[in-house]
């Protein structure tokens, strides 16, 4: 399960009440009789559910960034942007996080390449994984990780081949089928 800054969100009561009041298609049954009942007073204004949701997203984005989850923090600022006409804070935060993610991703890629050059495959893998955690669509990191996985798989297979030949020579086979 992915790490998140919170697992269960308890909605503020005001937002919950607003949400219930805004239930779609809730039929208000009006009995047309004589004399007609006075119209119900309009509900007291309360923060709309989207407004509360937007506030939650801002708060969540800040918490996620503090926890080092930059890509996820950026996503929450995008939720804010999507729900608002033009939110200057969200636009500013997205631009800042874009720059920060790029800087850290490029540093991780450089570390990974340097580790590859030195044959330090475990360090290289960690560095490329860090790059992918920041930018899941990064092709360089993905390609390098596939290369590392492939090399490791063939090393394991080569060792197994030695065992298999020894078993053949001894007249027994592996139970692996």
């Amino acid at each position: 399960m992915r790490l998140t800054s919170r697992r269960l969100l308890v909605l503020p009561i005001a937002a919950f009440m607003t949400a219930c009041a805004g239930m779609p298609n809730a039929p208000a049954m009006l009995v047309a009789s004589v004399p007609p009942p006075p119209p119900a007073p309009p509900p007291a204004p309360a923060p709309s559910a989207p407004a509360q949701f937007i506030a939650d997203q801002r708060s969540e984005a800040r918490q996620l960034e503090m926890s080092g989850m930059l890509a996820r923090a950026r996503l929450h600022w995008r939720y804010v942007m999507a729900l608002t006409e033009r939110d200057e804070e969200a636009a500013r935060e997205i631009a800042r996080l874009d720059a920060l993610i790029k800087t850290r991703r490029d540093a991780a890629l450089a570390q990974g390449e340097a580790a590859m050059m030195r044959g330090r495959t475990a360090d290289a893998q960690t560095a490329f994984l860090k790059a992918l955690a920041l930018d899941g669509s990064n092709e360089q990191a993905r390609r390098r990780l596939i290369e590392l996985e492939t090399s490791a798989a063939f090393v394991r297979q080569d060792r197994k081949d030695v065992r298999t030949r020894a078993q053949r020579a001894a007249g027994s086979e592996s139970p692996e089928n």
Binding site: L3, L9, L30, Y79, L129
Partner: protein, 329 residues
Amino acid sequence: MANAPAMMPPQTASVVIPVMRPAPPVTLAKNDDFIIVRAQPGDTYAKLAQQYLKDASLADVVADANDGMMLVPGQPLVVPLKAENASGVFVDGYQTVPILCYHQFTTGRSTDLMVMPRDSFASQMEYLKNNNYHVISLADLLGFLSAAKPIPPRSVVITVDDGFRSGYDIAYPILKGYGFRATFFVYTDFVGGGRSLTWAEMNEMRASGMIDIQSHSKTHTSFTPAADEKETTSAYAARIKSEIDPPQAVLERQLGTAVRDFAYPYGDASRSAVQYLQEKKYALALTVERGGNPSFGNPLLLRRDMVYGNATIADFQKYLRVYTRANLK
């Protein structure tokens, strides 16, 4: 509309007129990556996943995007239209998909590790169901490996090797009962033997939509090359070709299905075999190296976990490696 009241029909005390409040919009925002909607009465994560992602099994993906909070009508919710991170790599680790590998089944007991007692198999499938694992197909796994399609967290693949009839008699009804898809890898020289699946049985299973039939070579010979002096490079290449091409043609002719996946006999891959499968446009090929498969695994060198007949539920749990923890901050 000053005259509007005069135009209303006469009312009586017994007439009840429903007045509909204008419904708030369901969709609050949408772009290529996500949609933000207002939860409706009766909504569940599975319902939302079916409605927006056309796949109810992605309920956990939607739940995850909303921190798993309880659905309250009117509350805004995020439905990710694309995987948040298609690589499945996050700051605390990365998603992996275990592929379980079975061979034969029995209604009794067996000392042969390759034979799985029916009760044990049923318990393992029950464990998957009760613990919120999602059994996906190899086609779904390919989507994960190519970052084309999100898969649910806790995804697992089930495979059955060789083509023993007990797969049809014992495993298939259990899989069907749970609605679990699986891939049967068959080596074609075995078909027609006394204990093998028949083409009719394979066609029946395939037609159910639950079982896919793919290639496990022609004769089930290991792809480990013989020692250098016993098998030349060209002889080895010819052997690999003769083990891959004929079963593909036979399976496609008998079952009318595209053969795109391959299980190496004994799990033994080789560089030449991987290269040949690549040339022949195979999508996936499976070894029996233990471990879950990350999105950055080589699709032609996938890991699988053999489940032996004496496996306890505790053993079985160890094979279900769906997430690898790592500090990637």
